[in-house]
C-alpha cells in the first residue's frame, strides 16, 4: 500500500514544481540581474543569494563569495549593487526585506536593518554618516551607521530608485508618479511634483540646479530643484527606464524601452538626435559616458558605442537564438577602459569589454 502513496506524493510534488516554476526546464528562475560595484581593482557582484568579489586585474577571477559564515541566505535575492560603507564593509539589501552588512575581506554577513517589510531594490545612498535607504514599501529610511532610524519618509508606492542629494536636500522618485524634495536632515517634505506616471530611475542634477527625470509616461522632465516646478517636458517613443545622463555642452542622454538612444539639448529643450540601437529589444539601463563615447546595452545581448554626435562607433552582439543572453542595467566603468555589463538568462553574470567592444573576459560563479 505504501508504494502508490509515495508515488502519488512524488507526482504531486513534481506537478506543483512544474506549475510554480512556469513549466521551464529548471525550477530556479532568475528574478533579477547582477548588480555591480567597482572599487579600484575589485568588483563586487550581487546576484541571487551571494555577493561575489572578483579581481579585475586577473580576468575577473573569483576572490571570495559571501556569505562565508553560517548565515543561511538561501532564498534571498540580492539585486542592487553593493554599497561600500567603509574600506572593510559592504551594505546590501535583499528581496527578503533585510539589509545586510558584509565584511569585504572575510565575507562574514550580519543583519543590519530588518524593520522594512518589503524588498530592497534601490541602491542606498550614503552621505554625511547617514544611509538613505529606499524600500519597495514606499518608505525612504534615513539610518545612522549603527542601523538606528533617524527619520522615515513615506510615499504611496514602491521606491526603486536611489535618491540624489544636493545642498541638504534629497530628490526622490517614487512609483506613486511623484518626485519629492525632502530635507535630508529632518525628513520633511520640501515640495512634490506629479510626473503623471511611475518612474524607476534616479534624476540627473546639473550645475544649475535643474533635475532631469524620465518616466513610464514616455516623457523626460526638466524640473527646478528649488521650486519643484516643471521647466519643460519632452516625449520619447517608449517608457524611460534608465536614469538620464548629463554630457558636455548641456546635453542630456536618455534611453527608452524601444531601445532608442536620445541626445537632448537641455537649453533649447529639443531632441538633437535619436538612434534606435536595435529593433525588437529594449534598453533598461542608462548610457555610460566614457570620454567622447556613449555605451549602451540591449536586452538582446548587444553592446554598442556611439559618438556624442550619434554615430555608431563599435558594436558587439553576445546573445543569439542558440545562446540567449540578456544585458540589463547600466554598464559600469572599471579603471579607464574596462566596461562591465550585467547579464541575465545565462550562466555568465558579467561580461567585460574594452572600449572597442572586444570581449575581455566573462565571469561565471562556478568557474
Amino acid at each position: 500500500m505504501k508504494k502508490p502513496k509515495y508515488l502519488l506524493f512524488a507526482l504531486l510534488l513534481i506537478f506543483v514544481g512544474i506549475t510554480f516554476s512556469g513549466c521551464r526546464g529548471t525550477g530556479a528562475v532568475a528574478s533579477s540581474w547582477p548588480g555591480i560595484t567597482v572599487n579600484g581593482e575589485t568588483a563586487y557582484i550581487a546576484f541571487n543569494a551571494s555577493i561575489y568579489t572578483i579581481d579585475l586585474t586577473q580576468q575577473g577571477n573569483l576572490k571570495r563569495t559571501a556569505p562565508s559564515n553560517d548565515k543561511d541566505l538561501r532564498g534571498h535575492t540580492f539585486f542592487h549593487p553593493p554599497v561600500i560603507l567603509d574600506e572593510e564593509t559592504l551594505l546590501v539589501g535583499s528581496y527578503k526585506n533585510s539589509l545586510y552588512k558584509i565584511d569585504s575581506s572575510s565575507g562574514q554577513t550580519t543583519e543590519f536593518f530588518t524593520h522594512a517589510r518589503n524588498r530592497w531594490i534601490a541602491t542606498p545612498l550614503i552621505s554625511d554618516e547617514t544611509i538613505y535607504a529606499p524600500n519597495a514599501n514606499g518608505t525612504l529610511y534615513a539610518l545612522a551607521l549603527d542601523g538606528t532610524v533617524k527619520w522615515e519618509f513615506e510615499t504611496d508606492a514602491a521606491i526603486w530608485a536611489t535618491p540624489v542629494k544636493d545642498n541638504g536636500s534629497l530628490y526622490l522618485v517614487s512609483q506613486d508618479h511623484t518626485m519629492y524634495a525632502v530635507n535630508a536632515r529632518t525628513g520633511d517634505q520640501i515640495w512634490a511634483i506629479d510626473l503623471g506616471a511611475a518612474s524607476v530611475n534616479s534624476p540627473a542634477l546639473d550645475e544649475n540646479g535643474i533635475l532631469y527625470i524620465g518616466t513610464f509616461g514616455s516623457k523626460v522632465f526638466a524640473i527646478d530643484s528649488k521650486t519643484g516646478e516643471s521647466i519643460w517636458e519632452i516625449e520619447t517613443q517608449d517608457y524611460v527606464w534608465g536614469s538620464p545622463v548629463l554630457g558636455p555642452d548641456s546635453t542630456l542622454f536618455v534611453t527608452d524601452l524601444s531601445a532608442n538612444l536620445y541626445a537632448i539639448d537641455t537649453q533649447a529643450a529639443n531632441i538633437l538626435w535619436q538612434k534606435q540601437v536595435d529593433t525588437d529589444t529594449s534598453i533598461t539601463g542608462s548610457p555610460l559616458l566614457v570620454g567622447e563615447a556613449l555605451f549602451v546595452i540591449t536586452r538582446s545581448g548587444e553592446i554598442s558605442s556611439y559618438s556624442l554626435e550619434g554615430e555608431r562607433l563599435w558594436n558587439e552582439e553576445i546573445g543569439n537564438e542558440e545562446n540567449p543572453v540578456e544585458f540589463h542595467g547600466t554598464p559600469v566603468l572599471a579603471g579607464e577602459d574596462l566596461i562591465l555589463v550585467s547579464a541575465a538568462g545565462s550562466d555568465k553574470l558579467i561580461y567585460a569589454f574594452n572600449t572597442e567592444l572586444e570581449t575581455q573576459w566573462s565571469f561565471e560563479p562556478g568557474n
Binding site: 502508490p4 502519488l8 528574478s31 517589510r117 531594490i121 511611475a198
Partner: protein
C-alpha cells in the same frame, strides 16, 4: 508556454482593475471578480466532469462490472479480454471513459494561466515589470503602473501576515491568516468534492493522501508566495464548493465518516 492564455488574462485583470478605479483594494477585487468569472465560465466542464464521475461510480457498482473485475482478479481472463469487455460495458451503459478526465485537462491550463496572470500582473521585481510592460494592451497602461497592491490589510505582492496582535504580544508576530484560510478551504474542497469511496483500497488511500497533502502544500505556497495568489486560491476554493453545493454534490459523508466495523 502558456503565454497565449496568460497575456489575455493579465489584460483582463488590468481592465477590471482599471474599470474599478485603479485605486486601493481594486486589484484584490479584480482577482476575486476574475476568479469567479473563470470558475463560472468553466462550470459546464465541471458539471460534465461530475456527470462522468457519477457514471463511473455507477459502473463500479454494476453487477456485470463487479463480476468482470473478479474474473480478472482470479486470473480467469487476460488483461486484454478485460479491457475488451470493459469497453463493451462502457458502450452498453453509454459511458465515455475520457468523460471525467477530459474536462479536468481542459480546465487545467486555464487555472494555471490564472495563477501565472496574477503573479505576472503584480510584477514585484524589475525583471518581472520589464516582462509585463510589453504584454499590456490597454491604451493608458503607463497610468496604471504600478498596480496598487493594497487589499484590506494585505499587500498582495508580499506574503501575507497580520500584525494585529503585535500590540498585545511582547514580540512582533505576523499571523498568516490567508495561508490558514487557504489550508482550511483546500481541506474542505478536497474532502467535500471527492466522490464516496467505491471500496477500492488503493483509490481510497490516494484520496486520503490528497486530502492531507494538498491543503498542506497549498497552505505552504500561500505562506511563501505573494498574497495575491492566496486570494485567488481562497476565492477559487470557495466558488468551487458553492458550485458543488448548488449541484447537490457536496459529499458531507467524507467529513463525518463513521469508523467502519472491523471485518471479521
Amino acid at each position: 508556454m502558456l503565454d497565449f492564455i496568460i497575456t489575455p488574462f493579465v489584460n483582463v485583470l488590468l481592465y477590471i482593475y482599471q474599470f474599478l478605479g485603479a485605486g486601493i483594494n481594486d486589484f484584490g477585487w479584480a482577482i476575486l471578480i476574475f476568479t469567479i468569472a473563470i470558475r463560472l465560465a468553466l462550470f459546464p466542464l465541471t458539471r460534465s466532469q461530475l456527470e462522468s464521475t457519477k457514471n463511473m461510480q455507477k459502473l463500479n457498482e454494476h453487477p456485470d462490472y463487479i463480476k468482470l473485475q473478479k474474473k480478472r482478479k482470479d486470473g480467469k481472463i487476460t488483461q486484454e479480454k478485460f479491457a475488451e469487455e470493459q469497453m463493451a460495458l462502457y458502450k452498453e451503459l453509454g459511458i465515455n471513459p475520457l468523460g471525467s478526465c477530459l474536462p479536468t485537462l481542459l480546465q487545467f491550463p486555464i487555472i494555471i494561466g490564472m495563477y501565472w496572470a496574477v503573479t505576472k500582473a503584480l510584477a514585484t521585481s524589475p525583471l518581472q515589470l520589464i516582462n509585463l510592460i510589453p504584454d499590456i494592451n490597454l491604451s493608458n497602461a503607463s497610468s496604471l503602473l504600478p498596480l496598487n497592491s493594497q487589499f484590506l490589510w494585505m499587500d498582495l505582492s508580499q506574503p501575507e501576515r497580520w500584525y494585529g496582535l503585535s500590540n498585545i504580544l511582547p514580540w512582533e508576530f505576523g499571523i498568516p491568516i490567508l495561508a490558514i484560510l487557504v489550508f482550511v478551504t483546500t481541506y474542505f474542497q478536497t474532502k467535500l468534492t471527492t466522490p464516496p469511496s467505491t471500496g477500492d483500497d488503493q483509490a481510497a488511500a490516494m484520496t486520503k493522501m490528497m486530502s492531507i497533502y494538498m491543503p498542506l502544500l497549498m497552505g505552504w505556497i500561500s505562506y511563501t508566495y505573494s498574497a495575491g495568489l492566496a486570494v485567488y486560491f481562497v476565492a477559487s476554493n470557495i466558488v468551487s464548493l458553492i458550485q458543488y453545493a448548488l449541484m447537490g454534490r457536496l459529499n458531507l459523508s467524507n467529513l463525518v465518516r463513521k469508523k467502519e466495523p472491523a471485518v471479521k
